[in-house]
């Protein structure tokens, strides 16, 4: 003798309307409950494991770039604004400096200094462009520092030019802005956080080993800072912008860390 099942509070009191089962029998037949569950579970697992929207092309890459952005923050926290990088005696200066770019030295397009000028934009009071001769007339700073490439090699170089903070003050830049961005004659782009831009060992360099620098090394104007990895030191600069919204830089787009401090 079997007991009738106890009545569930979810059980409808009347008869179930089964008309919908007749409405589209083909569609009903195609629904496979196991496939639905399997699909839902794997979609959930994928989202859970990667922490990303599955519609993204490469979830791993976007996760790694999120870590890289976090590393930018970590580096700005440990940055010591007035802590000086090691300097070296003149006897250890390597001449000529080591060339590096994302192309070969033979493919360098020299900049014609007569037509060249440095354009200024963004949060700057005096945006008049600068000719090379005007930049040469500015007070000069010299530093003998190590250039360390992200690849792992290094050399000691002797650079002269105008201290970037001095220059930014001269043009009336807003020093409370977040970034100083650079554009280069070879379409390279780079940018610095303001703290690194204002570091005493950051300059707009014009000379190497006391002479005007040669074409492959950034003539007539390049960035040289002792607190950043080599590739951050933009060569053949044509434009400088002070901004709170920096565009992505050349190597950042490739997947290198933006801050790349030393």
């Amino acid at each position: 003798m079997s007991k009738p099942p106890s009545r569930s509070i979810f059980r409808p009191s009347g008869k179930i309307d089964s008309s919908i089962l007749q409405a589209d029998p083909k569609l009903l037949y195609e629904i496979d409950r196991r496939k639905v569950i399997r699909g839902a579970v794997s979609l959930g697992a994928l989202s859970f494991l990667t922490g990303c929207n599955v519609s993204e092309v490469d979830q791993v890459q976007s996760a790694l770039r999120a870590v890289s952005t976090w590393n930018d923050l970590a580096q700005s926290v440990i940055f010591r604004p007035n802590h000086l990088a090691p300097t070296y005696p003149e006897s250890r200066v390597v001449k000529p400096p080591r060339f590096n770019a994302h192309y070969n030295i033979e493919d360098v397009q020299p900049v014609d200094v007569n037509g060249w000028k440095l354009e200024l934009s963004g949060l700057i009071a005096d945006k008049r462009p600068w000719r090379a001769s005007d930049i040469y007339a500015l007070p000069e700073q010299e530093m003998i520092i190590k250039h360390i490439c992200i690849e792992g090699w290094d050399y000691i170089g002797q650079w002269s030019g105008v201290n970037l903070k001095t220059f930014l003050e001269r043009i009336g830049a807003d020093l409370s802005a977040k970034y100083v961005a650079f554009k280069c004659a070879d379409d390279y782009t780079e940018s610095l956080d303001m703290a690194s831009a204002l570091h005493p060992q950051t300059m707009l360099a014009t000379k190497y080993a006391k002479e005007l620098m040669a074409d492959p090394f950034g003539f007539p104007l390049r960035l040289r800072t002792a607190t950043k990895i080599g590739f951050k030191n933009a060569k053949w600069i044509t434009a400088l912008e002070v901004t709170n919204n920096r565009p992505q830089t050349y190597y950042e787009k490739e997947g290198f860390n933006w801050f790349s401090g030393m």
């Binding site: 790694l64 190590k146 690849e151 792992g152 490739e254 860390n257």
Partner: protein
């Protein structure tokens, strides 16, 4: 049987009983294993971009990341895991006395005897809760290499911000070389470590399940206890 036998088997009143590998150790061990896998594979990718030795390029299929920048992305992720997990491990090891209990003392004649036994292929491992003298030396050695690889890595990562540390290594390329040799030592350890874990599978099981129950108070490390405390 019963109370009496338990008492005679007990290491002493008030002594704490625990697994040979307590849960925190097991978690830290496997977190470290994953992080080391990431660090070594991505490190080899970074190395290949500018080799130290002309004759040595790591096979690409053993490296992590498509290009050097992806190797760097992985390395700069793994470093946080290695650093904080390592810090937790060292703190735990010193604070609980695990290092002192498991890794000390080391008698030189035991080292010699163990090496002789090993060469005669006598890999007796009747009590896996007690490390032999060579194991102790190797574990201490790999811990030192681990500390050194993190310090040299920090000097390479931030030679200006951590210039005080950087100066201890003297030069950028020296720090790089030390970082490389620490990697080589650790990889050598890992190969032996994995080979022995496969040869003596109960050690691998112990690092997952915890292993035999041992007593804290027992300096020699290895008084086995029946889990229920009942002995015939």
């Amino acid at each position: 049987m019963g109370i009496n036998s338990v008492t005679t088997m007990s290491p002493g009143v008030g002594a704490k009983l625990r697994r040979m590998h307590p849960l925190p150790i097991r978690i830290m061990h496997w977190v470290n294993a994953v992080a080391m896998f990431i660090m070594i594979g991505s490190g080899w990718k970074i190395y290949n971009d500018e080799v130290i030795f002309g004759w040595l390029h790591f096979p690409e299929f053993l490296t992590i990341g498509k290009w050097a920048q992806h190797g760097l992305q992985w390395h700069f992720l793994g470093m946080w895991i290695i650093f904080f997990n390592g810090l937790a491990y060292l703190t735990y090891g010193f604070a609980t006395g695990r290092f002192r209990r498991m890794l000390l003392p080391i008698a030189w004649r035991d080292v010699v005897a163990t090496i002789k036994d090993s060469l005669r292929l006598k890999l007796s491992h009747d009590d896996e809760t007690k490390y032999n003298a060579v194991q102790k030396l190797l574990y201490i050695g790999v811990l030192l290499a681990g500390v050194m690889i993190v310090l040299s890595g920090m000097a390479i990562w931030k030679p200006v911000q951590f210039s005080e540390l950087y100066f201890l290594f003297g030069d950028f390329q020296t720090a790089r070389l030390i970082h490389f040799f620490c990697m080589a030592a650790i990889v050598g350890f890992v190969i032996v470590h994995i080979a022995l874990a496969i040869l003596v599978p109960k050690t691998l099981v112990a690092m997952v399940a915890g292993g035999p129950i041992v007593s804290d108070a027992d300096q020699s490390g290895a008084r086995h206890m029946n889990e229920t405390g009942n002995h015939p």
